[in-house]
């Protein structure tokens, strides 16, 4: 395993290559364009496939095709482009194919701007495409994690036959840090029984919405029972992921009076704020969700009812993750919001808010 100084976006792309990803289709948009650039070179070196697509819709459609053949396939974008990919993500989810889709978040709705933010939680975590699906979503907080969670994303995508979203952001994508680069993994696209190869011998395969594999009546029509069975199947799949795939990091939960909840780039400020506050005798703790779907409810179950409060810290204008936190604590603990908008959250504000909570001066978020 060698170490190298890398940009977050490059580390992420190298992670995909190391995972055995041999198909990448992309379209430039800031702040993720280094992934497109890196892949355009690197795929040639590993005898893989790079296509510069005509659009984000074209790119995700190409991923749909390559994934149907059992290949590890990936595409990446940022907010305005990620929206366009939702059509294809919904089809990939419905056909139960593995694929990895990167969203390097930038600020704003509409055009917004190219600076980093955490504005795409709802878009990426709650869906955005049509229908009944929930992609697994990972939120890295460092250049190393950009690489590590891309590898995990491919693994989990295949285990559950589902699209997996890596929700990074412009800050992590653009910063440089030292990275441990793992050995190259080999991936055999022919190992899956569902992968298309041409029918060769035996029955032909059809990749389409898996709704169509559920029971039909003798006229080939889908009965109400078949729709219900499909619904139960999807519910079980989601439940299984919720039960088994919650990932989070915790700090000082045992003795904390106030707990910060923050993911990605903001969580790094929170970690610094905790240490500063503890020097002042203020006991802060942290829950950092790593899987955003499934949301790590198990971390919240551990929290005592006597905890003074939770502060959700996010880099957007009103707080997109806060609803999930409120559901996770189910009214047991007051939940507060620090939405730092276009600015990186600052330690002073976090500590000031914690003091207000401890003095019972703070107002809960609605």
């Amino acid at each position: 395993m060698k170490k190298k100084l890398m940009k977050g976006n490059q580390a992420l792309a190298e992670g995909a290559i190391r995972a055995g990803c041999r198909f990448y289709a992309g379209y430039p948009i800031t702040p993720q364009t280094e992934i497109v650039e890196y892949m355009s070179d690197r795929m040639l070196e590993v005898d893989g496939n790079y296509v510069q697509a005509e659009s984000e819709i074209g790119a995700i459609s190409m991923v749909y095709g390559a994934a149907s053949c059992g290949y590890r396939a990936m595409t990446s974008s940022s907010g305005p482009g990620f929206v366009l990919k939702q059509e294809g993500i919904s089809y990939i989810a419905s056909a139960e194919l593995p694929a990895v889709i990167i969203n390097v978040q930038r600020i704003g709705s509409g055009l917004g701007d190219i600076s980093p933010a955490q504005d795409n939680y709802i878009l990426s975590v709650k869906g955005g495409g049509h229908g009944d699906y929930r992609p697994i979503v990972y939120a890295p907080s460092s250049v190393q994690e950009n690489l590590d969670y891309t590898l995990l994303a491919f693994e989990k995508a295949e285990q559950y036959r589902t699209p997996v979203v890596l929700l990074s952001d412009g800050a992590i994508g653009q910063m440089m840090e030292s990275v441990r680069i793992p050995d190259m993994q080999q991936h055999d696209p022919n190992k899956f029984e569902w992968a298309l190869k041409g029918k060769q011998s035996g029955k032909n395969k059809i990749v389409t919405s898996n709704m169509y594999y559920h029971e039909q009546d003798k006229y080939g029509r889908y009965t109400q029972d078949a729709y219900a069975a499909y619904g139960r199947y999807l519910a079980d799949k989601v439940k299984n992921i919720q039960e088994n795939e919650q990932l989070y990091e915790e700090k000082y939960l045992d003795d904390a009076d106030v707990v910060l909840v923050s993911y990605g780039i903001s969580s790094r400020i929170c970690k610094a704020a905790i240490e500063t506050a503890r020097k002042e005798g203020i006991k802060l703790g942290l829950i950092r969700p790593i899987s955003l779907f499934p949301f790590p409810n198990k971390a919240f179950d551990k929290l005592s009812d006597s905890l003074k409060g939770i502060i959700c810290v996010e880099m957007n204008s009103w707080g997109q993750m806060v609803d999930d936190i409120k559901l996770a604590v189910n009214g047991r603990i007051p939940v507060h919001m620090y939405a730092s908008s276009a600015y990186i959250p600052d330690e002073d504000t976090i500590i000031k808010m914690a003091k207000e909570i401890l003095n019972s001066d703070a107002k809960e978020v609605l």
């Binding site: 296509v51 749909y64 041409g198 032909n204």
Partner: protein
Amino acid sequence: MGKTRITPKVLHDEHKFCAGCGHGTVFRMVAEVLEEKGLDSKAIGIVAVGCSGIMVDSFGIDWIQAQHGRAAAVATGVKRVRDDNFVLTYQGDGDALCIGIAETLNAAIRNENITTIVLNNGVFGMTGGQMSSTTLIGQKTKTSTKGRSAELHGQPLDIFNLLKNFNVAYLARGTITNFKEINKTKNYIRKAVEAQLNNKGYSMVEIVAPCPTNWKLDPVKCMKKIEDEFIPYYKLGEFTNGEVI
């Protein structure tokens, strides 16, 4: 004794298209060519949304059902990773030439080594006969009830006027109004398939075909409508480098 035409084995079930629909004849020709070339075990087909999607039930090759319009992009993903397989898209005009025009054009511009079969009947069939990019001037549809007008809706799209400017391998337009045209069209499909097998790049065959249900005409009158109204606008033949062969 005349020759007996044997149904290709790859067609394993009866199709579910409307009576008199052009799809039955067209996909039979595609099946015959694939079988003749020994490709049915190597083929991966992409259909998208619309009537063409029905054929996966009876046409026994590997299929992917793509999003509406995106078949050419999905085919790009397939062919790039499985270049030993034969990759085709089978689409209607609404799919390939309206919503999917960007994907279709860009696959051709990249000269992807895939084959596209487009059935052009000038309407969105499955949704009940609405205007498409290829609806003729004056043609009445559910969304052009007074007939398509150039002022309101623009000119009908002749895809070959666009594609023949690019360095693509093979383009042809046929119809199925009689045996002679059917045989010609089948030959076009054969040449398009060979273009891919010889790694020449992108090939497309557009087939002008009837939609009796939405044209509200019996199948015989449909054929006359194609000859009188469609063919004068959508010229038949093979097209390459800006020339009719």
